[in-house]
């Protein structure tokens, strides 16, 4: 069971090899998490992440392998995670994400669809698989990692940004739908984070590392706010940027 500070004892991560998820699991295990189930694509990286969780103090760890290219495996993946947990799952983190190569993908139908599938369609399928299980538990949180890139979509990453935007809005609706059920949906909208995914990219202003995002997330779980920004200045920044005239927004992004 989670405690009054939203610190979970059992955690399932879908996309368990993401750097943000990895840092978050570190923070959660340092608090109360003892059961950690990690699902992802690469068995070796997963096993290494599970090993880190165990070393840090998790007593039950397991890994589940899946590929988010195929939404038809979402149900089986979620089931395998819940079976492995063996206790009610306090927190599910949906951390699946794939940036792709915008310029190449935007003219390649299958590649473009793949970005949409991994960032939107698979997570949506997984959320549908999660919902009845969480409802039956009568408790639990779902934390979905989207991005500020979905608040105002950029020319340089609109495939990724639009899919994250879709997922983000999906979760807003879902959060409303689940009010009063004991199940909470929270959205994490990080800004630019230095991770494997953004390696080699030019950092945006207010770039942070995964540790920082993890700490902000822990605070967000405690406060139960529906949307968690990291760093928190993103809330105000994108509150402004989303209303910027299109020309100015373009110019701003080209100058970077």
């Amino acid at each position: 069971m989670e405690n009054a500070f939203g610190q979970p004892q059992s955690v399932v991560v879908l996309g368990g090899t993401s750097d943000i998820a990895d840092a978050l699991v570190g923070e959660l295990v340092a608090a109360r998490a003892r059961t950690v189930i990690l699902a992802g694509r690469n068995p070796e990286t997963l096993a290494a992440a599970a090993e880190r969780a165990a070393t840090a103090g998790a007593t039950t760890t397991a890994t589940v392998v899946f590929d988010a290219a195929d939404p038809s495996n979402a149900e089986a993946t979620v089931r395998a995670c819940f079976d492995a947990a063996q206790t009610p799952v306090d927190l599910v983190v949906v951390a699946v994400g794939y940036l792709g190569d915008q310029l190449a993908d935007e003219v390649d139908p299958l590649a473009a669809a793949h970005v949409a599938t991994v960032n939107y369609t698979w997570p949506v399928a997984a959320l549908a698989a999660l919902t009845p299980r969480m409802l039956q538990q009568g408790t639990g949180r779902i934390l979905v990692i989207t991005s500020v890139a979905g608040i105002r979509v950029r020319r340089g990453s609109y495939l990724y940004g639009s899919a994250k935007a879709g997922l983000d809005r999906h979760c807003e609706g879902m959060a409303d739908a689940l009010l009063g059920t004991g199940v909470t949906v929270q959205i994490l909208r990080p800004g630019f984070v230095h991770t494997k995914m953004t390696e080699g990219m030019k950092a945006a202003p207010f770039a942070v590392d995964a540790q920082r995002v993890a700490r902000d997330t822990v605070a967000g779980l405690a406060s139960s706010s529906r949307v968690i920004y990291s760093p928190s200045i993103m809330k105000w920044l994108f509150g402004l940027l989303r209303h910027l005239p299109a020309g100015l927004w373009r110019a701003l992004n080209e100058s970077r």
């Binding site: 069971m1 989670e2 405690n3 009054a4 004892q9 206790t87 009610p88 538990q137 004991g182 406060s223």
Partner: protein, 439 residues
């Protein structure tokens, strides 16, 4: 009916089927057919004791009978009868409850399950000391329990947090009073050392004693406090009027953050200055003395949607320093906390999960929000455990399972009884899962 439930601190809600059984048969049926079940009273425990996510919650509301009060003050009351109900019934005839928590709005079922204590613990012990017997419905059937009959079940149930069975009714011993007033002495001290020294020296002269301590003041005034002590007025009052019902209420949840370091510091300051330096023999009503918070209904909503936690620990007499260290840690961490309640505890009882141990107990309310708070409380837990102390489960909403075991060394006695009366662990709560007691 699926319903979302939480404790008084309004943290960690969970959803369960909630029913109000009105006969022993319906309770027994529920205990035998449900997958997980827990009883619930008035929901005044602060955390997650009276809820079980995805399970079945049995409200005790329907068990509201009060027998005629015997000439010796013995009465049999349903588990859903509140302390308030008993006072209303008994006081006009000169009977008062032997132990009352800081609110009258708790049920007898809840008082037994938490083995509650009042301001008179150092003299009269906890609620269990005044329970003659009780009727318990367990998953393996009904049982009559007392200190002489099924005594192991009796003592597992006292403080057993509703996990041994559903209490139907209890026979308790009331105390005689001749007035509806309390005579109170108040004294103000500049720091925690003076408060504790005075309590050690003088508490035994009073039936009731409690101190309010400021955990936000620093330096030489760290832990400054006000001791109020008293006893029932021995001169008869013409009428014995039960306490007034709440006249104010907080109609909806306040915005988060209203209760912050600044506002709480200001409140504590005002409270301290308002108190007389030294006043003897003041008359107070029972309500003012015992249940000052009951004047405002739903005051917990002031803490906003994030809610708050109450942290209450007890440490043995020899660990008086731990009280000081705890206040020091709190005051230096800067987390906002309302005036803490400091009390002396007398002897404990054979209840395997009963909270009180002879020594000190400190309780404080802390709004959820400051990011340092979870870590500060974890540090306090370490101090408390190292001193041979423990956290009060009825107030808890965040204790670590490993430390729970360390703090309650008789947990195996409890589990032995539990296995007998509930071999399939049907009776489970969010609390019992969270602290790893019953999963």
């Amino acid at each position: 009916m699926r319903e979302s439930l939480w404790g008084w601190g309004r943290t960690s809600p969970s959803v369960a089927d909630v029913v109000t059984p009105d006969s022993e048969t319906t309770v027994l049926d529920a205990l035998q057919s449900a997958v997980t079940v827990v009883p619930r009273g008035l929901g005044r425990s602060y955390g997650d004791a009276a809820q079980v996510a995805g399970g079945l919650v049995l409200r005790n509301d329907a068990f509201r009978d009060i027998s005629p009060i015997g000439d010796d003050g013995v009465v049999t009351v349903g588990a859903g009868v509140s302390i308030d109900d008993i006072i209303r019934r008994g006081l006009p005839d000169g009977w008062f409850v032997p132990v009352t928590p800081g609110t009258r709005q708790v049920t007898v079922g809840g008082a037994i399950a938490a083995d509650v204590h009042g301001k008179n613990h150092h003299v009269d012990g906890s609620f269990a000391s005044h329970v003659r017997s009780l009727r318990l419905l367990t998953p393996t059937g009904p049982l009559h329990c007392s200190p002489h009959e099924n005594e192991d079940v009796f003592w597992a149930t006292m403080g057993g947090m509703g996990l041994t069975g559903f209490v139907v009714n209890a026979t308790i011993q009331l105390i005689p009073v001749v007035s509806d007033r309390v005579i109170v002495d108040t004294v103000r001290h500049a720091n925690i050392d003076d408060v504790m020294a005075d309590m050690l020296a003088n508490d035994h002269r009073y039936r009731y004693s409690v101190s309010w301590v400021d955990c936000m003041s620093k330096g030489r005034s760290m832990g400054r406090g006000i001791i109020t002590r008293g006893d029932h007025d021995p001169s008869p009052s013409p009428e014995k009027t039960p306490p007034r019902r709440a006249r104010l209420s907080v109609p909806f949840s306040a915005p988060n953050g209203i209760l912050n370091s600044l506002s709480i510091r200001a409140f504590n300051e005002g409270w301290f200055r308002k108190a007389p330096r030294h006043r003897i023999g003041e008359y107070q009503t029972l309500g003012t003395f015992f249940h000052p918070l009951d004047g405002v209904q739903d005051w917990n909503r002031l803490y906003g949607s994030r809610g708050f936690v109450q942290y209450q620990f007890a440490v043995p007499d020899a660990a008086g320093d731990t009280v000081r260290a705890a206040i020091e840690l709190l005051s230096s961490s800067g987390v906002p906390s309302f005036l803490a309640v400091l009390k002396r505890f007398g002897d404990g009882n054979p209840g395997s999960l009963s909270f009180p141990i002879p020594g000190w107990t400190l309780a404080l309310d802390l709004p959820v929000g400051p990011s340092a708070l979870p870590g500060v409380l974890d540090q306090l837990d370490q101090l408390v455990a190292a001193a041979g102390g423990r956290i009060y489960l009825a107030k808890d909403s965040r204790l670590d399972p490993d430390l729970f075991r360390e703090m309650y060394p008789r947990v195996d006695d409890f589990l032995a009884v539990k296995r007998r009366v509930d071999p399939h662990n049907v009776m489970v709560s969010d609390l019992s899962r969270r602290i790893g007691l019953i999963n």
